[in-house]
């Protein structure tokens, strides 16, 4: 294994400036780091243990365990890798994390403090739900759910049990009606279980908003 060649596996931050619509900068940084952790040769402390720490910290940030001081520690570690000279792929990952931290500091802050991901990418910060007004009860989603979290079908709309749902999102892609979506901080008004198909009016999402947490 030679890290130098592996550096090409990562997108550089310059090439995708700004990040495309719908991308979560935290998740994007995490992906960079995860790839670098997989592909570096592991011989140097910087690439091996440095990237591992960065990875673990970002893992915490995207899963609800991030603290404000983690952001400073992340910067410190990235600086360290860049200054002391990690291998190619570690440096590129560190650059990407720093780029994301610098250009999207508000997003990082939201992840850490308010436990939110506005792009609805980070799994810990969104829920998957079925929109009863769109669902026709075709049940295409039921067999793909690995957690058996979806009920309904036939005369009834589908309903996703949030307690069981793991936010894998497989049902979202499979639904022919595009009736399954995500929500973040604002929970849409939906029935507490399956209802008769067609019984729900085309209510706009802006209904009675309720803050979560």
């Amino acid at each position: 294994m030679d890290c130098k060649h592996n550096a090409e596996l990562l997108p550089g931050c310059e090439s995708i400036n700004p990040l495309p619509e719908g991308t979560c900068p935290v998740d994007w940084a995490k992906k960079s780091v995860d790839t670098a952790r997989l592909e570096n040769c592991g011989k140097s402390l910087l690439c091996r243990d440095g990237l591992t720490q960065i990875g673990l910290i970002i893992d915490d940030i995207v899963s609800g365990g991030g603290k404000q001081e983690d952001l400073a520690l992340l910067r410190e570690l990235c600086d360290y890798i860049l200054k002391i000279g990690g291998c190619g792929i570690a440096c590129k990952a560190a650059e990407n994390v720093l780029y994301s931290l610098n250009c999207y500091s508000e997003t990082w802050d939201q992840h850490c403090r308010r436990k939110r991901c506005e792009a609805l990418v980070c799994k810990a910060y969104y829920h998957v739900y079925c929109m009863p007004e769109k669902c026709n009860g075709c049940t295409a989603c039921i067999p793909v759910c690995p957690k058996q979290a979806i009920s309904g079908g036939g005369e009834l709309t589908c309903f996703i049990d949030e307690e069981r749902c793991s936010n894998c999102g497989q049902c979202i892609g499979i639904c022919p009606q595009q009736a399954i979506g995500k929500y973040g901080a604002v929970k849409p008004r939906v029935p507490q279980g399956p209802v008769a198909v067609g019984s729900s009016a085309q209510t706009p999402q802006a209904g009675n908003r309720r803050r979560r947490r």
Partner: protein
């Protein structure tokens, strides 16, 4: 080579041009923390602790990979550097167990020393839990506690660069890095030579030796080579095994002769305590060290060691008498002669060699073999006078500057308390039998012999009687004659000896001046009373019977036979005592008269007698004004640390000696076993783990060992 001048922390330093900044600093007593760097391994620069600032360079650099340059100005201590170093330590410790006290390397750990030096506390980092620590943990000889591993890669470099064994490598499982083997095979299967280099260079407790393979009561340098540590004469065993592996038995003999003058005799009859220490026993079986020694001695063609061996220091004008030409006396005589003293050896029998030529059976050690080795001692200048019985030591001292009493234990004990033991002439000690046979004296044994005793000597006597055409019965108290070596017992039983184990003797029966039998009974067990040391039996009722025989041989130990008439103070067992305040076992009650070997220790083994002779020689040389140094190097050593890998190395089985068939060997006194040939010797020597290579690996000095000035400035 030109010298480079640079300053480190303002201190002017001069160094060789191909050195690194780290080497320059360390060799000048300036400590720079480092952990992945080892003086015997190529640089890897992965721990990032040895960072320094160099004037004109923007970022700090690893001093271990930065070559020195003329005029370079290096700073090793600054707040920025200390920040980076602490960050590196925090990263290293994130995956390392927090509790040091439970680790076997506690207080011997380089990482722990580094934590102390840098004052790092684990705090800010996420704890790293490794999934790979359970891989490859079942190995012989090497304990792998990989949760302690900081992946500095020293072991990988030791295995690959230093040893060229190429077993250890950096591996990845998902995002996790670990040190493993190809396909995660166990070390042995992967081709490990178990040289221990990886353990030696590991700065943490991740790689450890299995407990109990190295003695802890010896200095580490000695303990690292267990065979040599166990040998009473400390023969350089790995070195001569290497010489055999190189196909050079002459060189091997030279190495053996640096410590003992009887390589062949030892190769034949040594009780091989070295093999009990052999580290290879942790893999399969220990090396057949004694038989390799015998191979070397039997195949030593050119005697290339001889010229150096016969060198002697200039005459000192001192005269020494050695009483007794056994292994101990002759060993002492050889070394004392070498130190320039004139040595005369007095031997009461017609040939020299002591037990080697008259107390052991000829089929185990031939007279020719011993005499050829004694001849070399005579060639070196020692005078041996046979048939010269010395009855009083102080008398001899009058004509000599020093006297060494090395008469051994030459009198076989008989159990005279047995009823009938003094009544018949056909009652002998084993030593009387062996001496009679070897020195060609008549002995009246009749047709059937009863041997009383269960040690090795009993079976020596049995084998001898069988070869004399007698019917042999061995009677002993121990179940299965457990005091004797299994080898010797089984050999005698194969040759037709009948064993009466768990039998106690009651009386010797006889008729008209002839022994007719031995009255015995069976026992369940026995022990020696802790207070009186008396034998306590647990007899089986009604088991008394008579074993008929024409003669009795007692193999019940030997004594010195010394009396006050010899002129030395002795204890009630007949051993000379040291009444002076000087703490030496070799000193006797008469000034200038020393004693060594079995005569002071009681009957032991050949190698003990030789070791005792060496020590006594050194002491006597000092007594006569010499330096007492009898160390010698006859053969220059070369140790190639790059041992390479050897397929299925850990499985190579032990080669054993072949014995002639019992039917064949019981008919004559020729050697009963056949020594290794070239193929067996080469195969057997290839099994050696070469423990001595590990002594060549330098120990890493920790920060406290650098000079005081630096220690103080560290506090800033």
């Amino acid at each position: 080579m030109s010298r480079i001048h640079l300053t480190i922390d303002g201190i002017p330093v001069t160094t060789a041009e191909n050195e690194t900044v780290l080497q320059a600093a360390l060799s000048n007593g300036i400590y720079i923390p480092h952990i992945c760097t080892h003086p015997d391994l190529p640089v890897q620069a992965n721990c990032k602790l040895c960072l320094v600032e160099i004037d004109g360079m923007e970022a700090p650099v690893c001093s271990c990979e930065t070559p020195v340059q003329e005029g370079m100005r290096v700073t090793t201590k600054s707040s920025a550097l200390s920040h980076w170093r602490n960050l590196a330590m925090e990263l290293m410790l994130a995956g390392h167990p927090k509790d040091c006290t439970g680790c076997k390397m506690y207080l011997k750990c380089e990482l722990q020393a580094m934590i102390q030096y840098l004052g790092t506390v684990h705090s800010r980092m996420r704890t790293v839990r490794k999934e790979t620590t359970a891989i490859n943990i079942e190995n012989p000889l090497i304990i792998r506690e990989m949760e302690r591993c900081i992946q500095c890669g020293r072991c990988v470099r030791a295995c690959n660069e230093m040893r060229k064994v190429n077993v250890l490598q950096y591996k990845k499982q998902g995002t996790e890095t670990y040190i493993g083997t190809q396909e995660d095979m166990p070390l042995g299967e992967a081709g490990c030579r178990f040289c221990g280099a990886c353990v030696e260079v590991c700065p943490t407790g991740a790689l450890q030796d299995v407990e109990d393979i190295f003695r802890t009561d010896l200095p580490r340098e000695q303990a690292l080579v267990p065979c040599q540590a166990e040998c009473p004469a400390h023969i350089d065993i790995p070195a001569y095994i290497r010489a055999i592996q190189e196909g050079d038995p002459d060189k091997a003999v030279g190495i053996i002769r640096e410590k003992v003058p009887f390589p062949l005799a030892l190769g034949l009859v040594c009780n091989n305590r070295c093999e009990t220490g052999c580290k290879r026993k942790g893999l399969n079986d220990p090396l057949s060290i004694r038989n390799l020694k015998r191979y070397a001695a039997e195949n030593d063609q050119t005697h290339s060691w001889k010229e150096a061996y016969l060198k002697r220091l200039p005459d000192t004008g001192k005269k020494i008498a050695v009483i007794g030409a056994g292994a101990c006396g002759l060993t002492a005589a050889y070394y004392l002669n070498k130190k320039g003293h004139a040595v005369t050896v007095f031997e009461s029998k017609q040939i020299p060699g002591g037990h080697m030529t008259s107390g052991m059976p000829a089929y185990r050690i031939s007279t020719d073999a011993v005499l050829s080795e004694i001849q070399v001692i005579e060639e070196s200048g020692v005078k041996i006078l046979c048939n010269r019985h010395v009855s009083n030591a102080p008398e001899v001292k009058k004509d000599f500057d020093a006297v060494l009493v090395a008469i051994g234990t030459s009198i076989g004990k008989k159990l005279l308390y047995l009823p009938g033991a003094s009544d018949y002439p056909q009652i002998y000690s084993a030593l009387e039998l062996l001496q009679a046979q070897r020195l060609g004296k008549d002995i009246d044994l009749g047709d059937t012999v009863c041997i009383v005793g269960g040690g090795n000597v009993a079976f020596d006597a049995a084998g001898t009687c069988i070869r004399m055409g007698k019917k042999v019965q061995v009677v002993c108290l121990e179940k299965d004659a457990s005091q004797a070596s299994i080898e010797e017992r089984d050999a005698a039983l194969e040759e037709g000896a009948i064993l009466y184990d768990s039998h106690a003797t009651e009386a010797i029966c006889g008729n008209e001046g002839h022994v007719t039998g031995l009255k015995v009974h069976k026992v369940n067990g026995f022990y020696f009373d802790t207070q009186t040391h008396a034998l306590v039996e647990d007899p089986i009722p009604d088991s008394t019977h008579i074993i008929s025989c024409d003669s009795i041989i007692f193999a019940a130990g030997q004594v010195t036979g010394l009396t006050e008439a010899f002129g030395l103070q002795i204890n009630r067992f007949g051993y000379p005592i040291n009444p002076t305040t000087e703490k030496s076992e070799f000193i006797t009650s008469v000034e200038g008269v020393f004693a060594a070997g079995d005569v002071i220790t009681g009957t032991r083994f050949l190698i003990d007698a030789i070791a005792s002779g060496r020590e006594a020689a050194s002491l006597i040389d000092q007594y006569l004004g010499g330096d007492g140094n009898i160390q010698e190097v006859l053969v220059a050593r070369t140790r190639d640390p790059q041992i390479g890998s050897l397929e299925r190395f850990f499985r190579i089985p032990r080669n054993e000696l072949k014995n002639r068939s019992a039917q064949e060997r019981k008919c004559d006194f020729d050697a009963s076993s056949i020594g290794f040939g070239c193929t067996e010797a080469s195969c057997e020597s290839s099994r050696c783990l070469q423990c001595d290579l590990r002594k060549d690996i330098q120990r890493v000095k920790v920060w406290t060992e650098y000079n005081k000035k630096q220690e103080e400035s560290h506090g800033l």
